[in-house]
Symmetry: C2
Subunit: 152 residues, 2 copies
């Protein structure tokens, strides 16, 4: 779990696996002109170092009927209400991300909803029922032109 300085080969492997986690090692080996055993060793090292955490399938939220993506800036009445608010937000499945932030808002959340009506329902009947919340500001996402991950 110590720090491990990745080299160009590691980086290339990461790129490939971030695109498709099931890329055969043999193919990576061919692509990067090394042996499959080497690929295996590198992947194992990065797993040990905690760089590669696991694999997961990518889901299309749209295909599942979730068309509306929005961000909501939340202001709390008192900063001390932060933990309990997070706990309550966690109970709403539409809240997919939450951040404790400096700046304009206390908490910043990402919400996925099926429709605008659904979003309205989530806002009024879920989020705004939390007592500790003073006010919210909603940013509806119309497009998501960039979506990727950091790669040094």
């Amino acid at each position: 779990m110590e720090n491990y300085q990745i080299d160009n080969l590691d980086k290339s492997i990461l790129h490939a696996l971030m695109d498709n986690a099931r890329t055969p090692y043999a193919e990576l080996a061919k692509r990067f002109a090394v042996s499959a055993g080497t690929i295996h060793v590198r992947v194992e090292k990065m797993k040990q170092a905690g760089i590669i955490q696991g694999t997961k399938v990518t889901i299309s939220a749209k295909r599942l009927g979730y068309d509306v993506c929005c961000f909501i800036g939340v202001n709390l009445k008192h900063a001390r209400d932060y933990p309990s608010t997070i706990e309550q937000l966690q109970g709403f499945e539409e809240v997919v991300e939450a951040y404790y932030t400096t700046g304009n808002y206390s908490i910043f959340i990402k919400v996925m909803a099926r429709t605008i009506d659904h979003l309205q329902d989530v806002l009024i009947n879920k989020i705004q029922t939390i007592e500790a919340i003073q006010s919210t500001e909603t940013l509806i996402s119309l497009q998501n032109p960039i979506a990727r991950e950091v790669i040094p």
Copy 2:
């Protein structure tokens, strides 16, 4: 690619595969008391329906030295500058997500940086050099207590 109404078994499979895309079908079969063949059929159906898009490894940004996560609300001088701005933002590897939003900002981006100094560098020497940008507002994320995906 048509719409496909998923049932409880599909949902369970999705959950399992979102946690670990390499879970053996035989194990899923045992867990949900069906045969491995059935798991295969369901996964294939969801792939066909476009619900499952692929698999990717999960990377620890922290382990790679990226400790600072922040959101930046961007205001443009003119709405028409949107496409060219996105194009320029795409060129900065630290910009990992971008949204075209209604509300306070024209564009909303997520930035990953190594350190606060690095973030400052990205802001001053990259983002704020874009001519079309009128102003920016930065929200630094101190914690990310909720991070998951929609699952109906």
